[in-house]
Symmetry: C2
């Protein structure tokens, strides 16, 4: 429990430290775009478990912040393609970078032997978690 809480603290800090003003739902959308590439608003909506209209407004805000781009698709002009902009990708990368750095910082305080053991164990844990297929898994910060 303590470990999970500690990791959560790291995650929360890495998110909070980004000064760009992005809410959690917005960040989740960015994550999806970063991991799955360009998405249609409807896909985004179903991934995030919200209605299409919510996805549209969210994209509105992200477009205003220039974190995503929104273009109509030429082949089927009904569709819209939402993509992470350069700034959006930078933001996501930055959060990830901070998280890595924080975790590395924590591990750095350990003696080498412990550190190796922890890294191995985290790999094992990640493998165990990965074997239980979960739908929304990966849509998280």
């Amino acid at each position: 429990m303590t470990a999970s809480r500690a990791l959560l603290a790291v995650v929360a800090r890495s998110l909070a430290s980004v000064d760009e003003d992005v809410t959690l739902p917005q960040y989740r959308a960015l994550i999806v775009l970063g991991q799955r590439g360009a998405q249609r608003p409807a896909d985004l909506a179903s991934t995030l478990a919200v209605t299409p209209s919510t996805a549209t407004r969210m994209c509105d805000r992200l477009v205003t912040k220039e974190l995503v781009d929104r273009d109509r698709v030429a082949e089927d002009r009904r569709e819209v393609r939402v993509t992470l902009s350069d700034r959006g990708r930078t933001l996501v990368d930055e959060v990830t970078r901070r998280r890595r750095a924080e975790i590395a910082g924590l591990l750095g305080t350990l003696p080498q032997a412990d550190r190796d053991a922890v890294v191995d164990a985290l790999h094992t844990f990640a493998r165990a978690a990965g074997e239980v297929p979960e739908p929304e898994w990966a849509v998280l910060p």
Copy 2:
């Protein structure tokens, strides 16, 4: 990174699985009350880094949901004491229980030796994280 994401997924699920309709800020408030006991709204506010008025409204909503109790203190009738109600405590406990269960379930898929190694490593990690004193640490779900 994968391990941290997996743990985050566990946390998110344990939160989402509670059908009581509680937002993240509200849950954070419940956590604080659970860990530190009765609080004055002002203390709650400073812990959660919001203004007193925000804390008051949050308590309004939590009182409506009967997750906390709010009473004036007899000794100093200016003060208000906010306490976790039985239902509130049950909710917090339930989330914790689910989280433990999920993590235990994951670990259960591992062979005994790996499991022990992971548990040790998580303890080590928690200790390392605990040595870096962090202000908001512990206010997290």
